[in-house]
């Protein structure tokens, strides 16, 4: 199936139809109300002109006309929705995985990224997965939104018509980091995209700083900043080697953030919770020893 319109067009058409009808109705109602209040004000009209209290034809009229109008609105709404649900045949597949509070996009060739890189002019189908709670994939520019639900696979499709960077929000409330679960859709020209997808610049990055790449991939940066500002968790800046106060077994103790402490903080965050922060960091037990060391090495570099 080939959609006749982009998702943006589909939604906007319905929107303008409904908004148009809405505005006409609203204006009509407002005008009538203000006119009546002015014309029949008790100063001008000390006694009511009539005591009429029913008229069957009027009732029928103002039942039937709104009925027709709402059916029209329903129809446009539904038509537009169908466009959102018809995936073009040539759509490219990308897998999105949402967790508290970061996105990870996986391409068919195994490449992963924290931003959603897409080629301009080609529809993409994004398959949505959630690892913990509900999140929602929302790109206002393309008018698409769909929840990611644990245990269920949802999807959206859209097509970027112009190159550029578009906001991607998490629209389903998911806890303290909900509003920082924000990234972008990077629409690149076909050639640039191809270069990025098969490119090696990321690999260069990898050798340059495996730790930083991991931090982005694992979503650490959703909760921790590297510039000293407070997000969900404490900033990584200057963390290594400093002392922090943590709650361990209900007791407050002061510890030095050495490599062993950092490893514990990542593997079992609930055991030692930094005072002043909620105990919401998930345990990262799946990290290999090498990755863990890479992360800690990178943390150390952030002096």
């Amino acid at each position: 199936m080939q959609p006749l319109q982009t998702t943006t067009e589909a939604v906007d058409t319905a929107f303008y139809v409904i908004l148009g009808i809405d505005l006409v109705m609203l204006l009509g109602i407002m005008t009538a109300m203000i006119w009546f209040v002015w014309r029949y004000n008790r100063k001008r009209q000390p006694l009511p002109l009539s005591q009429k209290d029913k008229n069957l034809w009027l009732e029928i009229t103002w039942t039937v006309i709104p009925t027709l109008l709402v059916m029209l609105m329903f129809w446009y709404g539904w038509e537009g929705y169908l466009s959102l649900r018809r995936i073009p045949d040539d759509a490219m597949h990308i897998k999105a995985s949402a967790r508290m509070w970061s996105w990870l996009f996986t391409y068919d060739n195994g490449k992963t990224a924290g931003k959603l890189y897409v080629p301009v002019g080609r529809p993409v189908k994004v398959e949505l997965h959630a690892e913990d709670v509900l999140h929602s994939f929302y790109v206002p520019a393309f008018r698409v939104k769909r929840d990611t639900v644990p245990g269920m696979t949802n999807w959206v499709w859209f097509e970027a018509e112009k190159p550029g960077s578009y906001d991607l929000f998490c629209a389903e409330y998911c806890g303290v980091g909900h509003s920082s679960m924000v990234t972008t859709v990077e629409a690149l020209s076909a050639a640039e995209f191809q270069a990025w997808l098969t490119g090696t610049e990321e690999a260069a990055d990898r050798t340059a700083d495996r730790g930083e790449e991991l931090a982005r991939q694992q979503g650490c940066l959703g909760c921790h900043s590297t510039d000293g500002s407070r997000k969900v968790g404490p900033s990584f800046k200057g963390l290594f080697g400093e002392t922090t106060t943590v709650t361990r077994d209900g007791q407050q103790v002061t510890v030095t953030a050495d490599a062993a402490y950092l490893a514990r903080s990542i593997r079992e965050p609930a055991a030692e919770v930094v005072v002043g922060y909620p105990p919401v960091m998930p345990p990262f037990t799946g990290l290999s020893e090498a990755d863990l060391q890479a992360l800690i090495g990178w943390l150390r570099s952030l002096q």
């Binding site: 209290d53 038509e79 709670v133 409330y173």
Partner: protein, 542 residues
């Protein structure tokens, strides 16, 4: 509440002066429907002020991106609390429990409701639930941070004290159910002689429709929060995908109650407006039967549309179609009401006193809210605006602009009846104007920023949204000024206002035939009703 009133010699203090027990006990153990109604009224106003203050804090935090006055966790607790207080402690009991109790039995010509002691129990449950909710803030893992919708799996995972909060919601729901049972029975059984079904005032009719929703929908909320409780406490993961459950089923159950609940909120407000307009236009309610039928139709059809909150959840496309269609059907009876109200104004003799001003702003603001409801009700547009500030704008327009305004209208209309004193009408009019302007600035900006794509429940936002958020915040201050002015004026009126007679507005329903304040058993002799509720000629007003 009453001790401060300097009892003037000529006005009898009616039920306010006749307590069965001394002091506070004369209130909290009273089974008189008017005393219970007043207990509700003042508690509800108090909760409104707390909830509204939290609303202002939300707006302050949203003044600028990033942290302004509180951190993200606090923000989440604040909007959760704001939503829970406004929904469960202010707006759902708002008009039915306060004004329904105060006025409805008198409108029917009854001495009390059908089950007065059950009525008192409802109030106790309401307060008990509220106390539990307060305790939940300071115990366990701290104030709940789930939003008022308690979506799983977040609500079953979060470390905050959601467990106790569900108990609180269950208790308050129970209170609402008992009020509903009481009202349905009262309206069926305790009508005075001559009070036929077509002579029941529209306010009472709207309570009748509401009470049925309270009885039939609230238990579903009860079981829903009970299931969260069970999942948190004993691990019965009926919604937990790891145990074969389906998180989306939670949303179904939640909205099976919570959508009908929005009509629990708005129907009584529509009833208030339907009662006020005829009085101030000196014309019978146009299309009385159409309004009654549309109330019942809203109550029924409103029970069939719940999944319009779930278009993006991953439910089936067929369900999106069915529920979107049904959603549009509910708009029709609302439209019928609006047009009948306008027709009542036509060729009347209109007095723009404060109750009517608030009633008219109900019509206007509810219409804007309802029309934006059509934008969110249509499948395609919903996808874009779902869970954005557009929806926040929609529901503040319907809840605050609708029910809230109707509540204020009811305050200005019936407080003189209850206390026998009149507030300053000029100040009330000014307050109305300030509220109206502040309201529109606040919530229209929210709608626009929502269309631009700002998600709701966002503590932080991208810089493009700053301007409109600041406009909204500024609007909230104007609104605050208006509200404070209004409440101060009302309280001054209650305490020191000039005494009013039985019928200050020229109403034809029964409550205007008893003294202000009404005596304990309302009527000296059982009344006999001889004309319709808006028959101003027969009532001798015209």
């Amino acid at each position: 509440m009453t001790s401060a009133a300097p009892a003037s010699s000529e006005t009898s203090r009616g039920f306010l002066g006749e307590a069965r027990y001394p002091g506070i006990f004369g209130w909290i153990f009273s089974t008189d429907h008017k005393r219970i109604g007043l207990l509700y009224l003042w508690c509800i106003i108090a909760f409104f002020c707390i909830g509204a203050t939290l609303g202002v804090l939300i707006r302050l935090e949203l003044w600028a991106p990033g942290r302004t006055i509180m951190d993200a966790q606090t923000y989440n607790a604040v909007f959760t609390l704001h939503g829970v207080i406004m929904i469960f402690l202010f707006i759902i009991p708002g008009i039915p429990a306060a004004f329904g109790n105060l006025i409805m039995p008198i409108q029917l010509g009854a001495r009390d409701v059908a089950f007065p002691r059950l009525n008192l129990l409802s109030w106790w449950l309401y307060i008990g639930g509220a106390i539990l909710a307060v305790i939940a803030l300071f115990t366990g893992g701290g104030p709940p941070d789930t939003g008022w919708t308690f979506y799983v799996p977040f609500s079953t995972h979060t470390t905050t004290n959601v467990t106790l909060a569900t108990v609180a919601v269950f208790t308050i729901g129970f209170s609402s159910i008992l009020t509903g049972i009481n009202f349905v029975t009262t309206i069926h059984r305790l009508r005075a002689e001559g009070m036929t079904w077509t002579r029941i005032p529209l306010f009472t009719w709207s309570l009748y429709a509401t009470a049925w929703i309270q009885v039939l929908a609230t238990p579903v909320l009860g079981i829903t929060v009970a299931l969260i409780f069970a999942e948190r406490v004993i691990g019965t993961g009926l919604f937990d995908p790891a145990q074969g459950g389906d998180p989306i089923m939670f949303q179904h159950l939640f909205w099976i109650y919570s959508h009908p609940a929005v009509y629990i909120m708005v129907l009584p407000g529509m009833g208030v407006v339907s009662d006020i307009i005829p009085v101030f236009a000196r014309k019978p309610a146009f299309g009385y039967k159409a309004i009654v039928v549309s109330s019942l139709a809203i109550a029924f059809a409103g029970s069939l549309v719940w999944a319009h909150h779930m278009y993006t959840s991953g439910m089936s496309d067929l369900a999106v179609m069915v529920f979107s269609f049904l959603t549009f059907i509910v708009a029709i009876p609302s439209a019928v009401k609006v047009f009948n109200w306008l027709a009542t104004l036509y060729q009347g003799s209109i007095l723009l006193d404060p109750p009517l001003l608030f009633a008219l702003s109900f019509i206007l603001l509810f219409t804007i809210g309802g029309l934006s409801g059509l934008v969110v009700g249509a499948a395609a547009t919903n996808i874009h605006v779902h869970d954005t500030h557009f929806v926040v704008g929609h529901f503040h327009f319907t809840m605050f602009g609708g029910t809230g305004m109707a509540f204020f209208a009811a305050l200005h209309y019936w407080l003189p009846k209850i206390y026998g004193r009149m507030y300053d009408k000029a100040v009330a009019t000014v307050a109305w104007g300030v509220i109206f302007v502040g309201f529109c600035i606040l919530y229209l900006s929210m709608k626009i920023v929502g269309i631009m794509g700002m998600p709701r429940r966002y503590w932080d936002y991208v810089p493009e949204f700053t301007g409109l958020n600041q406009l909204a915040t500024a609007g909230s201050w104007i609104l605050a000024v208006g509200l404070v002015l209004m409440f101060v004026n009302l309280i001054r009126g209650v305490l020191y206002g000039a005494p009013v007679g039985a019928n200050p507005w020229g109403g034809a329903t029964l409550e205007w035939q008893v003294p202000s304040p009404p005596p304990t058993e309302n009527f000296e002799a059982d009344p006999v009703v001889t004309h319709g509720p808006y028959d101003f000629k027969k009532a001798g007003i015209l």
